[in-house]
Symmetry: D3
Subunit: 128 residues, 6 copies
């Protein structure tokens, strides 16, 4: 029962945070690595995102920073920039999060993140 609960809790949280983008990622794993989708839902969203102490806005800010910093994760940044907007961070908050990273990771990765955000913001404007 608990396993179901973790999955269910995770699925609700995934919907709340990443909306259709998160579900699309999980669905695209179905015919290659369905357990990977299950772990994302159960562990990342069921166990971690549902914890107390930090708000969803804070959690997305941290996630954006971790994605920007490791580099090469533009696809995941795309999903979580949309997620950050979903949970109430403004476009300005998101760009400012990236700017705060400059002294710690340098300009190149910050530029990659900002250009990814630019693209997401434009699509978001079109679809809303």
């Amino acid at each position: 029962m608990d396993k179901q609960t973790r999955y269910e809790k995770g699925l609700l949280k995934l919907s709340e945070v990443d909306g259709s983008g998160g579900h699309a990622v999980v669905r695209s794993l179905e015919n290659i690595a369905p357990d990977l989708g299950k772990y994302i839902i159960e562990f990342a969203f069921g166990d971690i995102y549902t914890r107390e102490t930090l708000s969803l806005k804070q959690r997305e800010m941290i996630t954006l920073t971790a994605l920007l910093t490791q580099g090469g994760c533009e696809n995941q940044l795309r999903v979580h920039i949309a997620g950050a907007l979903n949970v109430g961070l403004s476009q300005t908050d998101i760009v400012e999060t990236f700017i705060q990273c400059i002294p710690y990771v340098g300009f190149p990765k910050v530029l990659n993140a900002v250009f990814t955000a630019k693209e997401v913001f434009q699509n978001h404007a079109v679809t809303s």
Copy 2:
């Protein structure tokens, strides 16, 4: 005058955020790369940390995440864990920031950050 202002603004902000730890870093650069200390004060603290939109608590949360994610920056983590406490994040907030990183960077770097925090918290308790 503006250059002085950036330096002065940065020095104030450095004191506010990193306290004695930040000044110790800058001082230890004096006889090898004084300009590096100057850029940290002027650019990181004078230009970036003084920006609006995000609070100092948010900025330290982002900095901690960027340091944890790139790895091998235990010395800088040490200074900024103390800085995070200085600007009002609790020990629980800091540990929770690291836990939020697990799905995005894996356990090893999170463990390194948590053990660094453990050490800083212990010293902090002793000296306060």
Copy 3:
């Protein structure tokens, strides 16, 4: 009940793989981030290490490679080099795993891993 099962399954697997080194890591988290220890047991060892398809030897070989490649994880390498010996990889297998990484990550990180192994092998010889 399932949660207990994941924890119990993970604890058994942790004992099998990392022996006392793994338990020491979890124990040292108790007074700072006990949930981190719980996730390592439940998720890393209960969910992932217990999966089928690959043997424990293969899993440790993969883990060693992931730790070597990201760099700055000497503490985790130490635990998993001992773990690799526990599950039946020979000292030669471990060194050869590191040598296979040279073309993909370069000499410096391979040197760091080999010197960590040298240290673990020496302690292992002394204590066995």
Copy 4:
């Protein structure tokens, strides 16, 4: 003569592991950095891949892990996922290798690797 031997040994091993994909990489270097292609054949394949102790399956498993972990190497992953199939790893082995990396490098890079594998498996099905 020995130099020729290393090159010849490497060329044979490259054909055995990476098949046409590896040769295509080397050929595309001809008019820009031919020595780079030579070093890949002589050193990576002639010196390292021909060593004893580990099987080609184990070597590809290690290579896949090193490529996944450092990130941003989707082109090389593509060649080595095909290589892993060539030397006898199954699609399930490859996906499972990536899943074993989750606790050590987090979900984003694992997702990148799995989606790259999905693409390679589809092309492989079409061409075989």
Copy 5:
């Protein structure tokens, strides 16, 4: 006045190094993160690139190496490979810089950089 000077100095240096490519990057930031463009001009080009001791050729060689090594920065590599040509490095110097990195970062990232250079050299030939 000094701020203007840093910006003006940086703009001149940016033109000297990266030519139209650098200006295009800054312009594309205008409607999303104009301050990021300002910092690149003021700090990266106004403060750092204008320093003494090293020549522009040496500075571009260092920048190319830093971009290659962190990975996932192909867009920035593209701009700085063109920049390296602008300040007088030859195509051979650039490729040789990448080859010197092999023992320290491995083949995959070097391959990514060389293929990026191949593309830039081809466009450069067409437009000059």
Copy 6:
């Protein structure tokens, strides 16, 4: 005969660049991974460092940048900072190389490199 030549060429170059520090690294590999030492001599120093086009000063500048950028390679930085001094780079050149990296990799890794240099310069002064 050619193999011997690569080894001999590499050994001479290693002596020229890294002096006693490089030999100490190779010697410390003897009873754990002697082939790793052989590859460093044959490939890194025999094949790569002996190439034309770039000077040894340029090669060490590139190596220092690659080591700084990947992080966690303080031991290798130590050897190559001494190597850079051996081939004629000044202390100022070395620090300036690190400062040029700030916009591309951020302050933390630059600080790590500068503090490593500080230590090497002090020992160098004592022993010369």
